[in-house]
Every structure is written in structure tokens, then in C-alpha cells.
Symmetry: C2
Subunit: 242 residues, 2 copies
DNA sequence: ACCTGAACACCGTTCAAGT
DNA sequence: ACCTGAACACCGTTCAAGT
């Protein structure tokens, strides 16, 4: 065979001055939208307006709003490139921590993506890239620290790690990054937060904490989460920290 | 003084055959509703219909839908009575595990409550009962295992424990208890779940897992989470498991 | 093939009256 | 004081045409 067959005729890339829509471009637009607005603001009408089309036009590429969010979630998952993991005894803790920090940053870049996946009941880890990442993380846990975890525990440790990161972003970072409008953002940078500082006269430990408030960055709280995760997994590997 | 003053005239307890509404009863009705329906179905109109009033009537007791959910969340928090904690070296692990199991069961009884609090940006731990529980849990961590955790770490361990339970319910239990309609519930009781069993030809660890599927109850996955949490906190206490 | 515009059945919320 | 019913501005989605 001399040359490749001529590529199939491409569909036009533009129409009426704007780029033609595709399933992927609509999903990408939705993901971008979530980087700029809250999840409730992502409506079919708002996205259509932003794309310069009528709401009905979106339905030529996605089935419905749930499908739109599914596409956005797949693009979101495929867009993360994890840092390297190293199961060597003196390396696995640090590389796992770096891995989780990077995953947290990725989720944080698109606040609302997780929330929407939750409210729309969308199962994640659907994109091949994400499957590859999951597989590599399981493999990492089967090898950590020399002996490694047995298959079931390696699988559970993988899911546990991801869940910890996602849970932290949802329950710790999101209220911090997008506080309810009635709260003073400066108050949120203190520990304990304002709602744990009222009506605590008879509660000795919260009272003591409130008397000595100190700045607490989410980053340092996350390090504590990583302490618990890493050492908890180390214990599961039958290797208590030395 | 002879007798107590006559109690203030009570408002009538019934009106037109049905119980009169109050802020608390409306919130309780919303919480009950969440035990029976999904979070998206909790609309002002649906709740009003269930209570036998017009939607407008609800606005005499709550400011708006967000306020309604706030009331429901406060009732939800006040309705939990935690099992006892014991910081003794040979007891703290087991009592902490029982505590987390019970908290998980409480959240699970009202699926959607957490999701709604998230989507409506409602800060939790507002009810005095919940504050008391938080205070007691911090106190527990300051005493575990003899030496206990320092105040900051005890506070962080408390928040970490609660976040782990809530995260587990949201990300593990909820998809399991209320699967998306297109998934076969029987498939969900297997490990790995169906979406980790397709397109994995080149992924050795997922492939091996898929070749040996086994029933995996959420309860046993939760025990792994507790393993990691408890031993991780034990390590933070400077006391690796023996 | 892909779009628009009108329409339908919802939703939260408010207004103007009722009793 | 507390309610109803109508109304408004939204939303997701669909229908009937346009080009």
C-alpha cells in the first residue's frame, strides 16, 4: 500500500463564525464553567448563552444535563497527570504524600465538579486515563515497603486514598475556598472556625481552643490527614512506623 | 410566692384539623422526607403538599429553602446520641471504632442530608448537642493511651474522624444504597464494581481483581477505613501499634 | 444536519387578598 | 396571625419548523 487512504471528509470546523460544537467541546465548556462559577449556576441555558447558541442546540450533543456533567467529569479525570510513585521503603511515604497533594490540587481547580457528580449520582473513574491511574496506584500498594499489601488491601488502600483526598476537598477546602456569604473569610482562616466558638461556655476543650485561636491553613490540616493516612496504611502493611 | 405564674397562653395546637406548623415541625418534616426520598425531590411544593398546606405557608416559618434545610440539619445533629468513649490504652481503639460505626449509621439513616448541606453551603455542627459531642471527642483524644494527643492534634483528630465517616457515607454508602438506575444492584455488591471491570485489558492489577471478584460489603470496607484511621491516630500519638 | 423559537411542566419566591 | 391563589422569573426538556 502506498499511502494511507484519504481521511474521511471532516465536518466543517466552523459555522456562522463560531466553532462548531462537539460532545467534547460542550463538556469542556461545562468544565471551564465550573472553574469560574458555582455548580448551581451551571444550567443548560447559561452554558448555551456562553457558547452563543440556543439551549436546544446542546441537546444535539448530550442527552440531558446529567449527561453533560458526565462528559465534563470524564474530561476532568483525563486531565490529571499524577506525579511518580516509588514503593521503596524510604520513598513510598513521601511519594504517596506528593501524589495526594497533587490530586487535591487538581480537584480544587474545579470546585463543584465533585458536588455535581454527587448530586447527579454519576459514578466516577470512567475514563481510561483514570483507570490507568487507579491501576498504577493499586500496583504501588502491592509493592510498598518491600513486602507490600495483599491484593484486597492494596485495592482498598487505593480507594481509601482517593476518597480521603476527595472528601478533604469537599468538606474542608470547599467551605474555605467558597465560604457562605454571611461568614467573614478572615474568620475562616482561624482555628477553630467561628461556629465552634459560640455557646461553648460549658465545653472545656472547645473553650480552651477558642481562647487560643491560631491561624490554621488548610494545607497544614491536609498534612495531618496525610499523617493519618500514611501511617494507617503503614500499619496495615504490618510495618509500624519505626 | 405561692404558685408558678400561669403559663403564657399557648398558641392553638391545631387548625383546620391538622397540627399547626412550627419552625421545628417543618424542619422535622423535611428531615423525615429525606429519609424517604432523594435530596432533589425535597421541594417547597412537595413538602407543602405532604403537610397539607400551600407552598406559601412554609414561608411563615422558614426564610427560604436553604433555611429549611438548615433547620433539618440542626434537628438531624441533635438527634444523635453517641456511644461512650473510653481513652484507656486497651479500650480507646474499640470505643472509637464503635463511635464511628454509630455515627455512620446515623448519617445513613438520612441519605441526602449531607448532600444537601454541601450543595446549599450550610455549615454543620451548629446545634448545642453536636457541639457537646465534638467537645467530648476532642477530650477523648487528649487522653487516649495514657499520654494523649496535644490540643491541636486532638482537635484535628476529632475533625478527621468525623470527616472520614461523612466522606465514607457520601462516597461509598450512598452510591451503594441508592445506585444510579442504570446499574444492576447485584453488581454493586461485588468488588471491584462494574465500572472498574471494563477496558482493563492492559491494566494488570485491575484485571487480576476483575478475574477474582468477591462479595464485598460496605461494612467490611468501612472496617478497613477504621483500621487506617485508628492506627494512623495511634501513630500520631507516638504509639505505634504493638 | 443542525439550528431557532415557542411551548410545557416544573421550580423558588412574592404579591395581593382573604378569614 | 396565618392562610390561599395567582403571578413572576427561572429551570430542563420537547415540539414544530426553518435553512
Amino acid at each position: 500500500m502506498s499511502t494511507d487512504p484519504a481521511p474521511a471528509r471532516r465536518r466543517p470546523t466552523h459555522r456562522k463564525g463560531r466553532a462548531t460544537l462537539t460532545r467534547a467541546s460542550v463538556g469542556q465548556a461545562a468544565l471551564d464553567f465550573l472553574g469560574r462559577h458555582g455548580p448551581a449556576e451551571l444550567t443548560m441555558r447559561a452554558l448555551a448563552t456562553e457558547l452563543g447558541v440556543s439551549p436546544r442546540a446542546l441537546y444535539n450533543y448530550v442527552d440531558d444535563r446529567r449527561d453533560l456533567i458526565t462528559v465534563a467529569a470524564e474530561i476532568f479525570e483525563s486531565a490529571w497527570q499524577p506525579p511518580p510513585l516509588d514503593p521503596a521503603p524510604d520513598r513510598w511515604r513521601d511519594t504517596l504524600r506528593a501524589y495526594c497533594r497533587d490530586l487535591r490540587a487538581h480537584y480544587r481547580r474545579h470546585p463543584g465538579m465533585t458536588t455535581l457528580a454527587l448530586t447527579e449520582n454519576i459514578t466516577t473513574a470512567r475514563h481510561p486515563t483514570m483507570l490507568r491511574n487507579v491501576d498504577a496506584l493499586i500496583g504501588f500498594f502491592t509493592e510498598i515497603d518491600g513486602t507490600g499489601l495483599p491484593p484486597r488491601e492494596a485495592y482498598l488502600a487505593c480507594m481509601e486514598s482517593i476518597r480521603q483526598v476527595v472528601g478533604f476537598v469537599e468538606f474542608q477546602d470547599r467551605p474555605h475556598d467558597r465560604p457562605p456569604p454571611h461568614l467573614d473569610p478572615a474568620e475562616l482562616r482561624q482555628s477553630p472556625p467561628p461556629w465552634l466558638r459560640e455557646g461553648i461556655e460549658d465545653l472545656p476543650h472547645l473553650r480552651r481552643a477558642a481562647e487560643h485561636p491560631h491561624p490554621e491553613l488548610p494545607d497544614s490540616v491536609f498534612e495531618f490527614t496525610l499523617d493519618v493516612l500514611v501511617e494507617g496504611i503503614a500499619a496495615a502493611a504490618g510495618r509500624p512506623t519505626s
